[in-house]
Amino acid sequence: GDSVTQTEGLVTLTEGLPVMLNCTYQTIYSNPFLFWYVHYLNESPRLLLKSSTDNKRTEHQGFHATLHKSSSSFHLQKSSAQLSDSALYYCALSYQGGRALIFGTGTTVSVSP
């Protein structure tokens, strides 16, 4: 069945360093939609960015991700982490006609000074 894999449960890093969160997916559908949602403590999860276009970089709030259908990946990156980036990040998958988003298990990012 369809699935999303996030290999890191916890990423800890120092402010100013780059961050990359891994996301790979499995689906039989050739035109998937991939999403990154972010959940800050004591807030509601919200959309960070999304894409359905192969090999096109998508950016928002300093983060970027590129959907690579050849490797079924949608990794999230940022060149310089900030303290305010500390949050729980979810990668998610859907497809046309799909019933609901399929979420990965999430990656907690902790940025320290």
């Binding site: 999860p45 919200r46 959309l47 359905s52 799909g98």
Partner: protein, 113 residues
């Protein structure tokens, strides 16, 4: 900005107790969802609905019932609560599952003692 309101925000009950979690969205969205969030498991879909009177089973439905009384209101019922249902519950809404943004409520933290 889409609005999804959950109540109560916190709930404590005992094993075997009866709990109803409420969710209202004012965005005229067709789709509404109930998720539970647990460390190591991420967001898991309990039930969802694509309109008043409609109910669809999610990935972890055991021990939960749901009812969609109007387009705006979606309820999650735990009729015999168990400690394994201690979790953070999120309601969400969207226009369509595949492409539209998912809007989440603030969450309900449930403890079953």
């Amino acid at each position: 900005e889409a609005a999804v309101t959950q109540s109560p925000r916190n709930k404590v009950t005992v094993t075997g107790g009866n709990v109803t979690l409420s969710c209202r969205q004012t965005n005229s969205h067709n789709y509404m969802y109930w998720y539970r969030q647990d460390t190591g498991h991420g967001l898991r879909l309990i039930h969802y609905s694509y309109g008043a009177g409609n109910l669809q089973i999610g990935d972890v439905p055991d021990g939960y019932k749901a009812t969609r009384t109007t387009q705006e209101d979606f309820f999650l019922l735990l009729e015999l609560a168990s400690p394994s249902q201690t979790s953070l519950y999120f309601c969400a809404s969207s226009g369509t599952p595949s492409q539209n943004t998912l809007y989440f409520g603030a969450g309900t933290r449930l403890s079953v003692l």
